[in-house]
Amino acid sequence: MMEAFLSLFADNSIFNPPTLMHYWSGFVTTVQLVFLSLLIGFVISLPLAILRTSKNKWINLPIWAFVYFFRGTPLLVQLYLIYYGTAQITGIQQTFLWDILSEAFYPCLIAFVLNTAAYTTEIFRGAIEATPRGEIEAAKAYGMGAAKRMRRIILPGAMRRALPAYANEVIFMLHASSIASVVTIVDLTGAARDIYARYYAPFEAFLFVAAIYLCMTFTLIYIFRKVEDKIMAHTKPLS
């Protein structure tokens, strides 16, 4: 068994140490990019989702427009606009903005953050609006103010309801991050493209990277399953 496994690697010219290091640095970039964009996206989307449920249209409408735009256009197009589009603005190279935009990483991060923030806002808004009326009425009956009601009753319930949909968003974000490679970032897919181009071996290069994405996805699914088991325990049947 072990010998058969080793013989698989015996005469391969592609998966040598330099290539594996290339994949590894791609893996690190992917994790950084996805983790940061999800984290920042989450922090932005929570207040946006609360404000989105506001009855005041001056608060409500701009957020609706933001969400509408970022959900209504492909992430690839958003990335192109932020990466190539901004560089074409005359004089931008002389402003402080260029410190951020001249590297490929930050324009890409901005595009990912805005995109995931839009989707997450919509997920949270749905979860907040699905709060049973009875819970709100009961909270009111206890004399809770709007802020306390939001903090103690609505948000904890909404987070639970949003979890399955949010887990999906995290996985989609991981997969969507593969388009970072079109703006010269060497993420996992970028590494696979480099290796494909060097060895003319599309199957090996991309299958390997697909396997890594698969492992990452299953890890995420496992983590979210554990979290769901814990915080959604009350929804499970007793037996």
């Binding site: 190539y84 560089a87 001249s102 060497v186 181009a197």
Partner: protein, 251 residues
């Protein structure tokens, strides 16, 4: 008797014309591919490869005929004996070499560095590149050269899928230098007067473009190689090249 001699005459004429046809070498080109092969306003074929092909034929003392053939059927046409040689900017690749027999390469487009006007850099000195952001097209011979001969520890290498994106990032200011096929850079970057090529053009590997023959025509390929070699040495090649190019494509 008169009838018989007429018949004999016809047979002789026919057989001589058959013999004639056997000496005639047919070369296939896909037109237009300027400046390698295209039609002049009066309809005659002209271009670098046409002139070079004619020079080779003169060297071989063979009579040549040009056959125009669309690119996607150019190898099947050769194998079906519609013509004997493909002389149409066909890059030598291992995949094609399985089907056809290639001559030695007879031209290769050079590569060149491009940057902002006023970039002054000795492109033959590796140390001069220290710390620069360099763009290349992924998987090209230029990518190979920068990766192997200059290295990621000297420059920051950014790889692009298309030349368009590469040029956008150069003009956007995300790159200091790009290394491209000279004709590609000439038709894109040099159109903008704020940019220039840096240093001389250079040949960085690749087997270039060769004439293609049927696998069994080894004799013909050898004769071709000898003729090409002679033309490269006696100056005829340079003369033809200088007529169409301002830079060297000789290999």
């Amino acid at each position: 008797m008169k009838k018989l001699s007429l018949l004999m005459g016809c047979i002789l004429a026919a057989s001589s014309s058959i013999g004639f046809a056997a000496d005639k070498l047919k070369l296939a080109v896909d037109v237009p591919y300027e400046p390698f092969e295209y039609k002049a306003p009066d309809g005659t074929l002209t271009g670098f490869e046409i002139d070079l092909g004619n020079a080779v034929c003169a060297e071989l003392k063979a009579e040549c005929e040009w056959v125009i053939q669309a690119w996607d059927g150019i190898i099947p046409g050769l194998l079906a004996r519609k013509y004997d040689v493909i002389f149409s900017s066909m890059s030598i690749t291992p995949e094609r070499a399985e089907k056809v027999l290639f001559s030695e390469g007879y031209y290769n487009t050079p590569s060149a560095w491009f940057g902002k006007k006023g970039t002054d850099l000795d492109v033959t000195d590796k140390a001069a590149f220290k710390g620069l952001r360099v763009g290349v097209q992924r998987g090209t011979v230029q990518d190979d050269y920068v990766t192997k001969d200059i290295g990621a520890d000297t420059v920051e290498i950014k790889r692009y899928t298309t030349a368009d994106d590469l040029v956008l990032d150069l003009t956007g200011g995300r790159l200091d230098l790009v290394f491209l096929d000279f004709p590609v850079g000439e038709s894109t970057i040099l159109k903008d007067e704020n940019y220039q090529s840096v240093g001389d053009t250079m040949q960085v590997g690749g087997e270039g473009v060769g004439a293609a023959f049927r696998k069994r025509d080894k004799d013909l390929a050898e004769k071709f190689n000898a003729a090409l070699k002679k033309l490269k040495e006696d100056g005829t090649y340079d003369e033809i090249m200088n007529k169409y190019f301002s830079y060297s494509i000789k290999i």
